[in-house]
Amino acid sequence: MAQITEAAHHEEEQNCTGIDNRKLLFWVFLSTDCLFFGALISTYMVYRGQSLVGPYPIDILDIPLTTISTFVLLCSSFAMVMALSATQKDDLKGIRIWLAATAVMGMVFIGFQIFEFWEFAHHGLLISTNLFGSTFFTLTGFHGAHVSLGIVWLWVLFILSFRGKVNSARVLDVEICGLYWHFVDIVWIVIFTLLYLVGGFDAGPVITG
């Protein structure tokens, strides 16, 4: 018990703002990551409809399929909050189930993305094909890299749970991982809307929506 209270004490390394240092730092990071994705998304929007050769978005984007993978990512965000909730309750079984569920759903999402990239390559769209290919692969590729990092992070927490290192005294470890995971989810909400639902029907230089 003494150990746990000591750990809890370490958790709460606060500064003059009253917020834990790690949590504050992480929110600053997420804030700057908004700029990163903001730049990539604006670049996509600037170059929309300026590809000189196909395939164009309408030729290859599979919107129903991407809607399914969007659902999967939303589901994984729910699993993530459940994992945090289980951590607060010291429900070890719940922690493992929900962490694994989150990671597996993240992997399914990445699986969809690999399939999508593969299909695009077979339709002749590579990162060097046209402006659509360059901006699309750069943006969704960096998002996929974020998701992949999150998956590794989740599995690390999953393994740590077997060493008794995931519990209510160390709830911040799970909370920060969760913040990252939800951030990746909201970035996808923006990408899905702008690239697929709004810009997914662009044909050649004719932009729509």
Partner: protein, 251 residues
């Protein structure tokens, strides 16, 4: 700022609330999908507003409840909104700056972009007018024999030269040896096109030249990329006939 740890957690939503939030997010995504399901809404300006509003709603729900900004120290919300606002404003400024370039990049793309044929070739049952326009229509036999006899057609070759060297930009990509300035190398040399054209396919010289203008990628000479833009719609019928007559005369 003395909110303790336990106290803070008790403010987090309950499991039941998390489930309700998940269902709301699901429903919003389903609505978004249904909005763009009718073909008339696909890429429609009407869909843009609702789609953006719905995704902002999802965004807000996730950061407020799943990332519990609503229950956390307000400073965190300010930090996040700061980055978000900066990213958004810079993005809008960039798009505005680009759009402000008197539309030049867009016009450039509109004049030069070529249709992607692979997709339409795959969807053979796609009977849209556009797909059909890409399939060269064989001219009736009588017309073709007429055209072969009266090789000048109805156009004026001298006027056609002006079309060729004019604003369409033909000379940028095609070489014409007796025409100063026509030294482009992106497309085939057209100095003897009146002779060569009849040998390229089953079509007569005039038909072949017309096909090459109507559907530039229907037949692509070996060694060249299928990059010629569709320019038929950029010229009048008279200019078109003149241009064809000019090219046919190049023997």
């Amino acid at each position: 700022m003395s909110s303790g740890h336990g106290n803070e957690h008790s403010k987090h939503p309950s499991t039941k609330k998390y489930v309700i939030i998940a269902i709301i997010l699901f429903v919003i995504t389903a609505i978004e999908f249904l909005i763009i399901l009718p073909e008339s809404m696909q890429g429609s300006a009407l869909a843009f507003g609702p789609l953006v509003l719905l995704s902002i709603a999802k965004f807000y729900i996730v950061i407020m409840f799943y990332m519990h900004l609503k229950f956390d120290n307000p400073l965190l919300t300010k930090i996040f909104y700061g980055g978000l606002a900066l990213g958004t404003v810079v993005g809008i400024a960039l798009i505005g700056l680009y759009a402000g370039l008197t539309g030049t990049p867009r016009e450039y793309a509109e004049a030069r972009a070529v249709p992607y044929e692979g997709y339409y070739a795959e969807k053979t049952n796609d009977s849209s007018a556009y797909a059909q326009s890409l399939i060269p229509t064989p001219a009736p036999m009588t017309e073709s024999s007429n055209a072969a006899d009266a090789s000048t057609g109805s156009g004026d070759a001298a006027a056609g030269e002006a079309v060729f060297s004019g604003t369409l930009g033909c000379v940028g990509c095609h070489t014409m040896e007796d025409l100063p300035g026509a030294v482009g190398v992106l497309g085939p040399n057209l100095s003897q096109i009146g002779t060569v054209a009849g040998t390229r396919s089953a079509l007569s010289a005039e038909e072949y030249i017309k096909e090459s203008i109507d559907a530039p990628t229907a037949y692509v000479v070996e060694g060249y990329a299928p990059v010629m833009p569709e320019l038929r719609s950029s010229m009048s019928d008279e200019e078109y006939e003149d241009l064809v007559a000019y090219l046919v005369s190049k023997k």
